[in-house]
């Protein structure tokens, strides 16, 4: 077959890319397939069954850990998104002022510090506060998660704000809208997709966290990931696959919504 000379083609690149996509999905696919195994092995296929999903559903520890995960992730995502939205409003659409660069850097610090270091740092701090106050509830985990979720929530919100048209808000102000009204009826509706995207990113990041949670949690405060980490040391049954499969489905749903939210509205019309 005669091929026209394409300047973009590089030999072998498409093949490597295909292998890459295949290798990215093969382990996940295997994991999901064995969640439906009727046998107790995660290696030998013994027929199709939902028994491990039922087993996970009836496992009190799994259900409790899942609830705890959702509770922490929801609280942390809301707190982080509110803080990130305010911070984004404070750091965009300005000619620049003293302290602006400092704020950028400060907000991004949780991204740059290795997770394990933040984890031991919080362990040191919180173990002291636990002794002083006697409080050992979920508050510590929510606080820790909120803090490291802020930079993730901040990214899409700031991106959205920067692409927004200032003239609409000026128009509102010209028509005697108070700053609060302008924000409520003009800025917020325009910013909303960015806020939602930030909220979801923060939610997923919190839901996925293992390291910081593992160090900060008190006894009996396992989240789903730390529960799974504990289980991986033992003999693993397809119950773990079933839990993972459900977790995967949840992540997939969130990433799909995020994907459509963060699509650039200008590009859609092309």
């Amino acid at each position: 077959m005669a091929r026209t000379f394409s300047i973009k083609r590089q030999p072998g690149f498409a093949t490597i890319a295909m292998i890459c996509f295949f290798l990215l999905y093969l382990p996940i696919a295997t994991l999901v397939v064995y969640a439906f195994n009727a046998g107790t092995s995660i290696a030998i296929w013994e027929g199709f069954s939902f028994r491990w999903f039922a087993a996970a559903w009836n496992n009190q520890q799994v259900i409790e850990a899942s609830w705890r995960s959702l509770k922490i992730a929801t609280s942390a995502a809301v707190i982080a998104t509110v803080c990130a939205t305010l911070a984004a409003l404070a750091t965009t659409r300005t000619a620049g002022y003293r302290g602006l660069t400092f704020k950028y850097a400060f907000i991004n610090i949780p991204l740059l510090v290795p997770e394990i270091v933040t984890a031991v740092a919080l362990l040191i701090l919180f173990s002291r506060i636990k002794i002083w106050t006697g409080y050992s509830g979920l508050g510590y985990l929510i606080l820790a998660h909120s803090a490291f979720c802020i930079p993730f929530a901040y990214l899409p919100i700031r991106a959205r704000l920067e692409s927004m048209d200032l003239s609409l808000e000026r128009a509102a102000a010209d028509l005697y809208a108070t700053p609060v009204k302008t924000f409520r009826y003009v800025t917020l509706p325009l910013l909303w997709p960015g806020i939602l995207a930030g909220l979801m990113l923060a939610f997923v990041i919190s839901l996925d966290d293992v390291v910081i949670t593992e160090f900060v949690k008190s006894g009996g405060q396992d989240t789903l990931p730390t529960y799974m980490l504990g289980q991986l040391r033992r003999i693993v049954t397809p119950e773990m696959n079933a839990i993972s499969a459900v977790f995967l489905l949840l992540s997939l749903a969130i990433v799909t919504v995020f994907f459509f939210l963060s699509r650039n509205p200008q590009k859609e019309n092309e």
């Binding site: 000379f5 890459c20 990215l24 707190i79 300005t94 040191i124 991986l232 993972s244």
Partner: protein
Amino acid sequence: MATSAAEADGTRERKDVRDRWLLSAPALVLIAAASVGPLLIVLLYSFLAPGNYGDVKWEFSTEAWFNVLFSRDIFDDTVSLADAHFSIFWRSIKLAAATTALCLILGFPTAYFIASRPPHNRSIWLFLITIPFWTNMLIRTFAIQEVIRSEGLANTLLIWLGIIDAPVQMMFTDFAILLGMTYVHLPLMVLPLYASIEKLDFRLVEAAYDLYATRFKVLMRVIVPLVKPGIIAGSILVFIPALSSYVIPRVLGGGRNLMIGNLIELQFGQGRNWPLGASLSVTLVFIVMIALLFYVRNAGRPGGNAHG
């Protein structure tokens, strides 16, 4: 009148700046309380003496820092280099560098492939890269574990193909850690590379072909220098989390093949030497800062001959 207008402007500006500080206060306070503040405490702890049952004694000591680099014989007090620490740091750096290289080798063609699709197809391919990125890291590590276990997919397949007779021990080796880290961090390499390649001006590529460059020469002398910022960004994004990995070596290395993260954890667990753990943490942050500094110095300007 002009002065009072200027004054009013100044007041408004000051008020604006004050409002902006108020708006960003919640985020700054939260990060100070649960990220930056605790880090300073770690720095403080690295200069204290270890307590008997974990935690610290409140007395100044540089023993922890001394122990990062040296070990003192418990019987005759002779001092030697802390081989165990050096070897773990060196292994971690080697593994992280190898992970970065593997991610680059696999990720560059993938990113290039996506960027050279017609625009309306690109988002689907990008979506396929993003899904694993959003999937729980522990689940992906677990998935790799299932593939490389003795009775896992990889061994079964190799035996079936007749390449090996008995299962090869892949779990609990450096290979397992390398594989796991590459798998987990690959999307972090592809995404910035894609962003960079997408902006590539293909007229330059065309010009190179007009001047009789071969495909390989175009790749190495035109494309790679132009997308260098993306390569550096991707490499940093992979290298830093790979270097400070904790979960992957714990699960796939099985507690025997430690990396820095596990060494730090050990000091807060069985080791009961919090100051040493703290000073190791500070050392890790320091290495990360050096990597970031390298990034800041090199990013943002496409390098090399292409522009010259």
